[in-house]
């Protein structure tokens, strides 16, 4: 369970998060919507421990642990996964090697046995098939020369193989064609279960047709200004964010 209380954060002395309160129980998927620049990515970075963001107040507990006190890699080991809004290119680093190294780092931190190359490749190939990704995506360098949609699918591939307990999906639907959108949604739905929860950041209701959220929150001006059921997304689609920021 993720429990965020009164979270405030700044970047370069600019206050971005102004007191976030949010609880995501195990097994639930929550959507976060909100205008550009509202602080959605900032929230996902603060939760995953990126340098440069200063937490000035509040707390974040994940399964009762103080998430904010942990290094990014320790958060990953605890089961937090961030699908980046802009996935990063790693020249010269093979995708299969990268993901296997990550999987084994996380397994090791959890005291689980490491996965050998053969076992890993078997799982990776199966996941690739489910995600309708070309098989050479495993051989290529991480995100280098990937199309926008391929990069997003590669994030979901990593999620599938890392099997996180909490996924933060930052606009994973942006830039996807309709088929890819369905594939990505299927990837998230496949992970659904009592031990998986997710924060799905999106601008579009259409993703939520495929990943039906338990709750929808509106983040505007650094605060959660409204929360509701799946119908809230439809309402936002119809009326926009006008007036919400002041609320």
């Amino acid at each position: 369970m993720l429990e965020i209380k009164g979270l405030t954060a700044t970047i370069e002395d600019k206050i971005i998060l102004k007191g976030i309160d949010l609880v995501v129980p195990d097994g639930e998927i929550h959507a976060i919507m909100g205008p550009n620049g509202a602080g959605k990515s900032t929230l996902s970075y603060v939760l995953s421990g990126r340098d440069g963001y200063e937490v000035t107040g509040g707390s974040v507990l994940f399964d009762g642990q103080d998430l904010l006190a942990m290094e990014p890699e320790a958060r990953a080991a605890a089961g937090v996964f961030l699908a980046f809004q802009y996935p990063v290119e790693l020249p010269g680093v093979g995708n299969a090697n990268f993901i296997r190294t990550a999987v084994n780092a996380v397994r090791k931190a959890r005291g689980e046995p490491e996965m050998d190359t053969v076992a890993f490749l078997k799982e990776a190939r199966a996941a690739i098939k489910r995600l309708s990704m070309p098989e050479d995506m495993l051989k290529r360098n991480v995100n280098v020369g990937f199309s926008g949609g391929e990069k997003k699918r590669n994030e979901i591939l990593q999620m599938a193989l890392l099997q996180p307990r909490l996924a933060l999906l930052d606009e994973t639907d942006s830039g996807l064609d309709i088929d890819a959108l369905r594939i990505v949604a299927d990837g998230v739905n496949a992970a659904r279960g009592p031990n998986f929860s997710a924060l799905v950041i999106t601008h579009y209701q259409r993703l939520l047709d495929h990943i039906v959220p338990d709750r929808v929150h509106v983040l505007a001006g650094g605060r959660i200004v409204r929360s509701g059921g799946p119908e809230l997304a439809l309402e936002l689609e119809a009326h926009g964010y006008a007036g919400l920021e002041a609320a």
Partner: protein, 483 residues
């Protein structure tokens, strides 16, 4: 990539020692008195029971050396070396072993500790090893199986005795005795090294490897390696090196000569891990080495691959002289410097004949307070019609206290030649580091992974087993450079 997690473990293991290979081995040694003069040169030659012509060759080199000065053009600084304060000969006192069974168990154990088993059954599959201890060859494995196909792989002292005609014909034919200050010194006092001869048309059936170990104190190390590939022959050769941790600097001035005849190919790989000195720059090896290959025959090929992580100072420019029509030379290099290390390294590609090609890929990684210079010469001579060179020099900076420099020299005297040069300088980006860490990799492992990615084009040139070693070495050498 298990290598990365293994690297992590290695780093943990190393946390105390810093340098895994820093131990010393107690062996009864025979030393020449300190100092250098003609008598010492005569003594070395006599100890090795050399023929008169070789003694004369050494003396000529010594006299040439006396008239020379050490090179001042490299971007390296070090206190003056007192050449009279060194021993020029140190060898295990026991007589040279006739077979592996006779090798001093203490030596076998030391190589075992370094991960180089000399027992043939236990050794790496398909790799024959010549083990050189303080510049004296102590054992060469798989000689019999190699002899069956006519390959000669032995110490150069032995080659002088058993194959004098070959040694006399080729020694100094690529790197003349008076070529440069350190090469002249080496020619005067070299003690041992490896000799390889691949007869016409033979593909050497296994990797050949020399493992250099410096052990003795206050002793200059001067190995000489000579590799000859006759027409149509091919060989892949790898050199590895380590030394104990010592507070004083130690001089290592080796010479390597390669000769490739028609359509022959020689691939020479180095994983250089001499003791680099401590974090404050105390101690470490001065690695002043001359390596040169002659592509004598048409369509011959010489390829140098080096991963340089060790030594306090590296001064080294493995080069190719492209004499045969259509011959090609390549140089793939990773030079990593950390703490106070200095590297001034690169290559020379001398195009003498038509249609010769050369490729240079240099990856320099600087961390800590280190200085890393790529220095490369591409010279196209008037007869080298349609010669081609491609050079790519990439520098990666870790931290802001280090220096990276690229010094390319291009001399083109034939208009039909094509010379391309690309250079980049980059840093490990914060977002790359965070991306890796958010996936569960520690900061050090992330840097290791990114650095290995940066070096990929070079590492893939190494024989498999050594590529894995090299990857570990890169990560370990960066220990303490991040965070």
């Amino acid at each position: 990539m298990a290598a990365i997690t293994e690297t992590r473990e290695t780093i943990d293991r190393l946390a105390e020692s810093g340098y895994q290979y820093g131990f010393e081995t107690a062996i009864d040694m025979d030393f020449a008195p300190k100092g250098l003069n003609e008598d010492i040169v005569r003594l070395i030659s006599a100890k090795k029971q050399e023929p008169e012509w070789l003694l004369e060759w050494r003396l000529k080199a010594y006299r040439a050396w006396l008239t020379m000065a050490d090179p001042a053009w490299a971007r390296i600084v070090h206190p003056r070396i007192d050449y009279q304060d060194l021993h020029y000969y140190a060898a295990p006192r026991a007589p040279a072993p006739k077979s592996l069974d006779e090798v001093d168990p203490a030596l076998l154990e030391m190589y075992e500790k370094l991960g180089i088993p000399l027992n043939e059954r236990a050794s790496l599959a398909g790799v024959a090893v010549d083990a050189v201890f303080d510049s004296v060859s102590v054992a060469t494995t798989f000689r019999d199986s190699l002899a069956k196909v006519g390959v000669i792989f032995c110490s150069i002292s032995e080659a002088v005795r058993e194959h004098p005609e070959l040694v006399r014909k080729y020694l100094g034919s690529v790197v003349p005795a008076g070529d440069n200050y350190y090469a002249a010194l080496n020619s005067a006092v070299f003690s041992d090294g490896s000799f390889v001869y691949i007869p016409q048309g033979v593909r050497c059936p296994m990797e050949l490897s020399t493992y250099f170990r410096i052990n003795a104190r206050n002793t200059g190390q001067f190995e000489r390696t000579l590799i000859i590939a006759e027409a149509g022959a091919s060989v892949s050769y790898l050199e590895g090196c380590t030394a104990p941790m010592r507070d004083e600097n130690q001089l290592h001035a080796a010479v390597v000569e390669l000769v490739a005849h028609d359509e022959a190919s020689i691939k020479y790989s180095t994983v250089q891990n001499w003791y680099p000195g401590d974090a404050d720059g105390k101690g470490g090896i001065y690695n002043f080495v001359t390596k040169r290959g002659a592509c004598r025959g048409a369509k011959s090929k010489i390829s140098w691959t080096q991963v340089e992580t060790g030594s306090a100072i590296t001064w080294k420019y493995p080069s190719c002289i492209l004499q045969g029509e259509g011959s090609s030379g390549s140089f793939y290099s990773v030079a990593l410097t950390n703490h106070r290390q200095q590297a001034d390294t690169g290559t020379k590609m001398i195009h003498l004949a038509p249609n010769t090609t050369s490729t240079i890929v240099s990856k320099g990684i600087s961390a800590g307070h280190s200085n890393n210079t790529y220095r490369g010469l591409v010279r196209i001579m008037p007869k080298a019609r349609h010669a081609r060179n491609f050079t790519q020099c990439d520098s990666l900076l870790i931290g802001d206290q280090c220096g990276a420099h690229t010094v390319p020299y291009i001399e083109c005297r034939n208009q039909s030649a094509k010379v391309e040069h690309e250079a980049t300088t980059s840093k490990i980006a914060d977002d790359q580091l965070f991306y890796c860490r958010s996936r569960g990799l520690s900061e050090e492992d992330s840097v290791g992974l990114l650095v290995n990615g940066f070096c990929r084009e070079v590492l893939k040139e190494l024989p498999m087993e050594f590529a894995v070693e090299a990857q570990k070495l890169l990560a370990v050498s960066l220990e303490g450079s991040v965070g």
